[in-house]
């Protein structure tokens, strides 16, 4: 086996930052090639640090990282996209932060998930381009699918029967839609409307851009958001922190 190289390159999105000591930060990066990893950026909080600004959360950067004894160390960083317009829009920032938190919570370190990385970059670009919450809905559903948590929505998850076009139970614990007969044994869930079921199905074959182009009435948006939130909560065993912020921000928009 070849010796482990001393340094490696990666391109990724900075998910979060933790300050360390006077001027250092530990950054969590999600990259296509390495998956999620943590490394330390020495002196990055000093005014004259060359890496500063290139290693901010919600920045897509190319980095050079050296293996360290306990933590790896960033030696170079160069911005690919700082998503400036996204950052200057409070609603889009909130959606983006929520997506970053999802990635952080759903992934293990050093597990390469190039498809999820492409999905994240695509979602950030669409949010930057002014597409709203639909981008996040598509991202949540595709993330669940890529990680093996896709709900079964083609027929009843319990008995396999075809489902009539009507309101149907979506059960996170059963793993999908449940027919009327199997409902008593489904172990909880929520009844979802026909438009929501159609959107869940559409999200499987649509790109994020195609999904975001669909005009969804506000009440269906809300229902879809709640239904997906329950799937996320079931698989994470908690709500992502940023969800409250997304809701708080949009409540302010509507005048509290």
């Amino acid at each position: 086996m070849a010796a482990r190289p001393r340094v490696y390159r990666a391109e990724g999105v900075v998910l979060r930052r933790r300050n360390l000591g006077e001027a250092d930060s530990i950054l969590t990066v999600f990259s296509g090639s390495e998956g999620k990893f943590e490394a330390i950026a020495k002196g990055v909080r000093k005014a004259r640090s060359r890496m500063r600004g290139h290693l901010e959360p919600l920045t897509r950067s190319r980095v050079l990282v050296a293996h360290g004894r306990s933590l790896d160390v960033f030696t170079q960083a160069e911005t690919v996209d700082a998503y400036r317009r996204l950052r200057e829009d409070l609603d889009a920032s909130a959606e983006a932060l929520y997506c970053l938190e999802l990635v952080d919570r759903f992934t293990e370190e050093r597990e390469p998930l190039p498809e999820l990385y492409a999905l994240l970059v695509n979602a950030l670009e669409l949010l930057e381009g002014g597409k709203g919450a639909s981008v996040t809905r598509h991202f949540e559903l595709r993330l669940l699918a890529l990680l093996g948590y896709e709900p079964h929505i083609d027929g009843c998850v319990a008995c396999g029967d075809r489902l009539p076009e009507e309101e149907t139970l979506l059960s996170p614990s059963a793993g999908g839609l449940v027919c009327r007969e199997c409902r008593p044994e489904a172990g909880g869930g929520r009844i979802v409307s026909v438009p929501v079921i159609k959107l869940l199905r559409f999200a499987r074959r649509a790109t994020a851009a195609e999904f975001a182009a669909v005009g969804i009435p506000p009440e269906v948006q809300r229902e879809l958001r709640t239904a997906i939130a329950e799937l996320v909560r079931y698989h994470l065993d908690r709500d992502p922190n940023a969800r409250r912020f997304v809701e708080g921000v949009s409540a302010l928009d509507k005048g509290e």
Binding site: R45, A47, R52, N241, F245, L252
Partner: protein, 201 residues
Amino acid sequence: MPEAGAPEPIARLIQEFSKLPGIGPKSAQRLAYHVLRAPEDDARALGQALADVKERVVLCESCFNITVSDPCALCDDEQRDRTLVCVVEQPLDVLVVERTGGFRGLYHVLHGSLNPIDGVGPEQLRIQELLRRVEAGAVAEVIMATNPSLEGEATSMYVQRLLQPLGVRVTRLARGLPSGADIEYMDDLTLSRALEGRQEL
């Protein structure tokens, strides 16, 4: 873990020192033995200073800066412009802005910035207190001097949206400050220029 072999009081002191930011076990040990060798008066003065900082330092009920008297000296200063409020993340940032000598208004210390992923929301900061202060009516302009980081910018935009219905002017420090920096590490020239070039949000 108490240091093996060290007598209990010194082991305890080592343990306390090692809780401080940037102090590893070796430095903690060095500091503890330094205190042990120091004259008794010095050691007592250190102990008294530590006790005072918790007992005598309070938060100003108006601006939430740290102070020994409430209201703080800045809020109590009749010469300062009460229609201008500069919003900062940390008490240290007040000192830095004051050092520029370019600002004669009052302050509001949020005690942090929004960090939704880590669960720091508006309710963890002194944001409602700022809203009430502006609602009271004397404030004409709120200057957001949060860090030019993702968290600082989000905080600034959030406050702007929150205050918008009140019709108060909300500005922020001009761009040109390097992204990802702590205001604490910024030089005075950069900061005073930034104050002059503030913009409408």
